[in-house]
Structure formats: structure tokens, C-alpha cells
Subunit: 355 residues, 2 copies
């Protein structure tokens, strides 16, 4: 099988980690019978400054018409408001209907300093406040701005279903590993329906309904108000398995979870739709370390694996995960965010050696 | 001076901790020349079940007409949607225009296991998604619900001003203490203007403007996107001084910060308006431990102190803070959430002895 992958480095360290992602795909063992070809695509703040748009139509069209999947690096935001600029990744998620943002957070031997954490945040990726329908008007005491938070039954249902499926899939993988700490798959629904009874109430009810389907009968379903969720996530992260959340809470929770495993530089994500997946490291464009070859490529390498998983290439994904875990457990080539001294290239080379 | 204080225990352990709050006020040394009288008021889910409203008019009217301040315990939320029920504390904050929710989070010798944390979250308390303007309609693919997130220049400006004032006040107290780790007051503005350019953009700009006032010239002003803020809060909490945030982010951040100091049972808050303050522990009604006399009263005792501070009684507040710190540092009478075995009453008695 040959997969065509769009490469969208974006800004800052996106330009250093996406090439690492390409390299690992090119280095997969030929026994997997997988071939890749690549197409370079533009998006980001630099693209905006050059062309007036942060997400050229060509990028969207090429992804839609030619590609099976993609890797997205990171984009910088202007530090003050710039007319016409709008985040290309948010737009891309919507334009390709990549309705699930899947963010696994996991300790390895090398990155744990307590109980092992192995959870995944399944974040709704198309609506909530991210519809970006805003307006501003003059009130009696100055300006007033409003934004719409939109929650639909349809989006809440499909994100909950994919969360349930991920819980089952994880359980299957775990039950093959004798050291598993958890014996029942679990999904925790996050919301704030004590304040937002209609919107978050709809999310909660719909999630409950979707997860009550027969195929999820082995899945334990719980819920947690978002503020308590952050509290509990920090107090007993080892408790959680799959966390499903509306867009904004998912955004916040995944950064919180990343903090627990030592560095955002470790945490991958995949933007997943019915027939497409974009791998994307959770970290940003990090202009402060740009161009120094010290960005941690692990988040991107894991995002490559995650993309492959959702494209149905689980064996290839497993190879990458194992190589990355090997690098972290050995703890010989770690980038500065992990307390090491290795360059981006050295970390990558060490992972490639372990493939 | 005689202060009249409304007591609103609410549900669950609210009924165990609010009496502790009353006791400490009654036990303040007479040298302070402060007298209190109390009025018992109703609110909460039990009140709703009894009377059909979670916040009786009488409670609001009595607070407005007769009281100088109040203590609020906690309320339970129904576990499924109940028609007509709506959170009384959210309503109270709006009805009394208590526009700032001030939540200090601080380690003591006894509760620190790393660098000392001493920060305060100043949460806007009247708008954002908490305006609770929601609607539901039938879309082409099922139900759709929308909520309004409203951010005004007026509310953003006054919350930022109070945040700046708190930063200056903290600096004054710190400079009297020789062990201070920070020499410049700092305010960190939290927002998500990379997605919500109008609403959070307005919050950010207005906060910048308010904090650029001459009287804040010694205050360092920074900003942080909310997801990174959660990440950084967990990675280097000792860095922060005052964090100012719109309502919902403030809600989430304060639970996150509470996790860092070991227990929500330690974290107080005050709902502050121009002439009124309600002390309120950050924890909930905790029905699981209700009636066992094991709830941690510390969050309430500190909330009493915080209320007194905002009513201009700083000397009385300082006495309570010192007595609470003494209890925590000695670590002899700690409640179960802190790993101890002391009852609510025993913790309270130990604090009272140290007054
Ligand atoms: C850059 C920003 C728009 C984005 C988001 O909020 O989704 C980022 O924080 C993320 O989590 O991918
Ligand atoms: C109970 C709930 C409505 C409340 C809030 O969201 O403000 C609580 O979480 C708090 O932080 O005081």
C-alpha cells in the first residue's frame, strides 16, 4: 500500500519536527509493505504574512483530493490582533471534518515519577466555542463582545462513540500485556452542566446515550465536572483511561495532562475524521528555541504513529511507539525539555536505530 | 465595630464547615474590638426541594439590607437535569454584583513538597459563559444547543484593576517578610484570544489597558493562553503571583491550583463587590463524607479571613491566617484529606487555640 502524506510544517519548530516525522516514515522496515510519498504544503503565520491567508485553498484542496493523511507542525499566533488572521489548524479541522482530536498521554519507565499514567483525551474538534462566531457592540458602559458556544447532538454523539471505540481498542491491546493495571475499559465524560445545563447538558446526555450502546456494554462510563476533572487529573491521573470532552475543555485538559508526563514535547495528537487523519504534536511553534535543532521530535514521531493507527496501519504504528519508548526508557538521548542534552537530530537518530 | 454576617451553609458538608467559620469569628481576641452578629440564611438544593427555589428572595434581601458580609458553604447539584433548578451561588454573585472571585493558593511548611507556591487567582465573577443565556433548537441532524459567552470592557476592566491592587497589596505584605522569594508584583492575564479574538481579545486588551495605569507602574504584566497556563501552572507554580482570568478559566484554574497544594479542603475564596464580600470554601458539598465530622474546615476558616480582609479588617484576617498556618505547620491535627486523622472539630479547636 502506498500512502500519500501532506506535510505542513507551519511556523517555528514545526519546520524542525515535521522533517523528523517524514524521516521515520521513510525508515519503516520494508517488511511492513508500506510506501509513502509526500507533498509539501503551506500554512501558518509566515504564510499569512506572505500571501494574506494563513491557510491557502491549495493546501486544503491538495489534502482533500490527493492525500491519505497529513502531518501538521505548529503555527505562531501574532502577539497582537492582526486583521484577517485566523488559526489555520482550527480551520483545517473543520474543513476536513476531522471531528475527533485524540491525545494520548502516557508515562514510560523513563518519564514516570509515580504511578504510571496511561490515558487518552478524546476532544471534540469541530464546534463548541471553536465555531468562532463572535460579535462586538457598544454597550452603555463600553464595548461588549459575545461568542457562541455551540454543542450539537450529532457531534457529541460521534465523539462519544469514537471515545468508546478507543476504550475498547486500548483494552484489547492491554489485555495482551500481562502488566496491565486496569481490567475494565472506562470513559469519563467531562462537562460543566451544573452551569451550562443546555449546551453541556446536551453533551452529557448524548454521551451517556451513545455509550449505552450494546457494543460498549463492557465499558464503565463515568462523568466529571470540568473543574473537578482538572483537580482529579492532577491528584490521581493513573485513575483515568479515556476522557471525552467538548472542544475547549479538551484543549485545556490535554495541556494539563501533558504537564504530568514531564513535557509537552512528548505528547502527540491526531485529528481524525471518517477517512482522514492529521498527526499533530501538541506543542506550539516555540519561537524561543526555533532554529537551534533542540526541539523534541518525540511528540511528532508519536503523532506519526497515531496517524498511522487511524489510517488502519496498526503494525507500523506499534513499531514507532516501541522505538520511541525504547529511546525514553534508555534515557541516553533526551532533548533539553526532558533534562537531556541531545539535539533534535540525535533523538531522531536514536529512535530510528530502534525501529 | 460590629459586623453583621449572613451564614448560608447550603448542602452537605457546608453545614459542618460554616459553623466552624462562625466559631472562629466569635473567638477572635477582644483586643481587636470587633463584634459580630449572625443571621442564618437558606440556599441550596435541599432548599430547592423544600421550597421550589434554590435561592429564596429572603436570602438575597437580607444580605442586601442587613448584612456587611457573609459565609457561603457549598451546594449540591442534582445528578440529572431538574427543571427549574439553577445554582444559587452563581445567582448570588450576580445579584449582589460580587464581581471578583479571589482565590489564594499557598503552600505552608506542612503542605509543601517542592518550591513554595503563593499565588492568587482573581476570577471575573459575573459574566463569560456564566450569563447562562442558552437555547436549544432542532437542527437538520438532531438537537443543537447554544450558549453565549459575554465579555464586557467594564467587567474586564474592574477585575483587572482589582487584580493589580491585590498584587500591590501582596507586595506590601511580602516586603515586610524577609524571606520573600519575589521582589516585583506580577499579574498574568489569561485568555484564549488566539481562538476567541473578539471576546477574549477584548478581555486581554482591556486588562492590558487597566494594568497600564500609573498606580500599577511597579507591576509586571504578562499574559498566557489558558491551555499553556494550565501547563505552566503545573510545571512551575512557584513562578506565579496574581493570575487574572475570565470566569470559566478562573473556575478551572483555581481547581488546578488547589490540586498543587494537596487538597481542595485548604483553598478559600472570597466573592468581592464594592461594599460586600462573601467568603466561600472552594470545595463542594462532598455528599460522600457528609455528616461524619471529617470535613476539613481550613478552607472555610481561610475564607473567613479573606472576607475580613475585603471588609477592611486586615488585622483580624492576619490572626486567622497565622493560626491556620500554625495548625498546618505543626501537622498534628490534620483532617483525612490531608492524610491525618483529626475530625473537623479537632482541627477547629487546634486552630482556635493558636488564635
Ligand atoms: C493553536 C490553538 C488554536 C490550538 C487549539 O486551541 O486547538 C492548540 O492549542 C491545540 O491544542 O491544538
Ligand atoms: C458550583 C459551581 C457553579 C461553581 C462555579 O462554577 O463557579 C464552583 O465550581 C465554584 O468554583 O465556585
Amino acid at each position: 500500500r502506498t500512502l500519500r502524506i501532506g506535510l505542513i510544517p507551519g511556523d517555528g519548530i514545526g519546520r524542525e519536527v515535521i522533517p523528523a516525522g517524514r524521516r521515520i516514515l521513510e525508515s519503516l522496515p520494508s517488511s511492513l509493505n508500506l510506501k509513502f510519498n509526500f507533498v509539501d504544503l503551506e500554512a501558518g503565520y509566515d504564510t499569512f504574512k506572505k500571501t494574506g491567508t494563513a491557510l491557502p485553498d491549495k493546501t486544503v484542496e491538495t489534502l482533500k483530493k490527493e492525500c491519505d493523511g497529513a502531518l501538521f507542525g505548529a503555527v505562531s499566533s501574532p502577539s497582537t490582533k492582526v486583521a484577517g488572521y485566523s488559526s489555520p489548524i482550527v480551520a483545517l479541522r473543520k474543513k476536513l471534518d476531522l471531528y475527533a482530536n485524540v491525545r494520548p498521554v502516557k508515562t514510560t519507565l523513563g518519564s514516570s515519577n509515580g504511578n504510571p499514567i496511561d490515558l487518552v483525551i478524546v476532544r471534540e474538534n469541530t464546534e463548541d466555542l471553536y465555531v468562532k462566531e463572535e460579535k462586538t457592540y457598544e454597550g452603555p458602559d463600553g464595548k461588549v463582545a459575545e461568542a457562541i458556544k455551540r454543542i450539537s447532538e450529532r457531534a457529541s454523539s460521534r465523539i462519544s462513540t469514537i471515545a468508546g471505540e478507543i476504550a475498547l481498542r486500548r483494552q484489547k491491546i492491554r489485555s495482551a500485556a500481562p502488566t496491565s493495571i486496569r481490567d475494565q475499559p472506562m470513559v469519563t465524560i467531562t462537562h460543566k452542566s451544573n452551569v451550562l445545563s443546555q449546551t453541556d447538558g446536551l453533551f452529557r446526555e448524548t454521551a451517556r446515550k451513545a455509550l449505552a450502546a450494546d457494543k460498549f456494554s463492557s465499558v464503565l462510563v463515568e462523568e466529571q465536572i470540568v473543574d473537578s476533572m482538572v483537580y482529579k487529573l492532577f491528584r490521581q491521573p493513573e485513575y483515568y483511561d479515556v476522557i471525552v470532552a467538548p472542544n475547549l475543555y479538551g484543549d485545556i485538559l490535554s495541556d494539563g495532562a501533558a504537564a504530568l508526563v514531564g513535557s509537552l514535547g512528548l505528547v502527540p495528537s491526531a485529528n481524525v475524521g471518517d477517512n482522514f487523519a492529521i498527526g499533530e504534536p501538541c506543542h506550539g511553534s516555540a519561537p524561543d528555541i526555533e532554529g537551534q535543532n533542540i526541539a523534541n521530535p518525540i511528540a511528532t514521531l508519536r503523532s506519526v504513529a497515531l496517524m498511522l493507527e487511524f489510517l488502519g496501519e496498526e503494525a507500523a504504528a506499534a513499531k514507532i511507539y516501541a522505538a520511541v519508548d525504547g529511546n525514553l526508557d534508555a534515557a541516553k538521548f533526551l532533548s533539553p525539555d526532558m533534562g537531556g542534552k541531545a539535539t533534535t537530530t540525535e533523538v531522531l537518530d536514536d529512535v530510528l536505530k530502534r525501529l
